[in-house]
């Protein structure tokens, strides 16, 4: 048997597209947030509310990743933002090439902020860089407070975390202090926003943070 050294990046194609996306966004001073969570955590509801909450202040575009259907993109369009749907046809994550194509379809020169709503999955999307400015994780109360300990990759990498559905805190066993402490152990710099997208409790802090992000980028 003979051994041959190769030393090649396996996901080089993804890395190259991610690099291109990152340059494309930086040239336009356009912040882009890659939103990652389990299915059903409320990503789309959060985005729809955010679009309404920041109307007139921040112009938002959304890249919607789903395995099938354009249900989420239609909810985003109904909320009044530009949206591009990507169907991954079974793939568990968005790739940088798909985001590259979607960015060409968004009216980027008329936007202040782009959200990428990744495929609902707490594992795979965190391994694929898309060229985003930062990752945002969403954890919802019914999922349980053990998720940061069980799925550390995304919580270690995210710049912000929304703990959603806090209106259910009394109804399920979810120790929000434990969840927050577990996340902070992995990632001291993360911003944590306890929110209910449904009742809008806590959402204004999140809007303020986003507004700041778009202002910092423009300076």
């Amino acid at each position: 048997m003979r051994k041959v050294k190769v030393e090649k990046k396996i996901l080089i194609a993804n890395a190259e597209y991610a690099e291109q996306n990152s340059r494309f966004l930086a040239e336009r001073k356009l912040p882009c947030l890659n939103v990652i969570s389990s299915p059903g955590s409320g990503k789309t509801t959060i985005l729809a509310k955010t679009i309404e909450g920041l109307k007139g202040k921040v112009r938002i575009g959304v890249i919607e990743g789903d395995i099938q259907t354009d249900i989420d993109a239609r909810r985003i369009l109904a909320a009044g933002a530009a949206a591009v749907q990507i169907n991954t046809d079974g793939a568990c994550h968005l790739s940088a090439a798909q985001v590259h194509n979607a960015l060409q379809q968004l009216p980027v020169n008329e936007l202040d902020l782009v959200f990428i709503e990744n495929v609902g999955n707490l594992v795979c999307p965190s391994a694929f860089e898309l060229g985003e400015t930062a990752k945002v994780a969403v954890l919802s109360v019914p999922e349980g407070d053990d998720k940061p300990a069980k799925y550390p990759a995304i919580f270690a990498r995210a710049r912000a975390l929304l703990i959603n559905k806090i209106d259910l805190l009394g109804a399920v066993d979810f120790d929000i202090e434990k969840a927050e402490a577990d996340v902070l152990k992995l990632n001291k710099g993360i911003r944590i926003f306890p929110v209910s997208a449904k009742t809008e409790e806590g959402m204004s802090n999140w809007y303020d943070w986003l507004y700041e992000l778009t202002q910092n980028k423009r300076r």
């Binding site: 051994k3 041959v4 030393e7 990046k9 994550h93 965190s126 001291k188």
Partner: protein, 114 residues
């Protein structure tokens, strides 16, 4: 869970190398950061499925998980990040920055002797 996509890329890189070497590849060693979420069993299973009937059929993949590195913001020391005890090895500070995860790399291929 995304081993299918990884297996597809691997197959094309290994096939290209095999053509160049003009030999049958028997095994390959890959490395990745441990936050990459790559499972050896699932990757071998995916690779087996898509390599049927190609010159890579029967190839065995070995995966080396590389630890996560972090840099202390207090004392600048770079250390191996342990999930169960995420503090700086030198000054025990819990204020650190995670360094980028090691990328998924195809390190080495073993070929059949001519």
């Amino acid at each position: 869970m995304h081993e299918g996509a990884v297996a597809q890329s691997l197959l094309s890189i290994i096939s290209a190398e095999a053509k160049q070497q003009n030999a049958k590849p028997l095994a390959a060693r890959i490395s990745c950061g441990s936050l990459n979420g790559i499972n050896a069993e699932a990757l071998n299973f995916a690779f087996e499925a898509i390599s049927k009937g190609t010159m890579c059929e029967g190839l065995k993949l070995a995966i080396e998980q590389k630890p996560i590195r972090a840099k202390c913001k207090k004392c600048d020391y770079t250390f191996t990040f342990e999930l169960h005890e995420p503090t700086c090895d030198r000054c025990q500070s819990d204020d650190f920055e995670l360094l980028p995860d090691a990328p998924l790399m195809l390190e080495e291929i073993e070929f059949e002797d001519d």
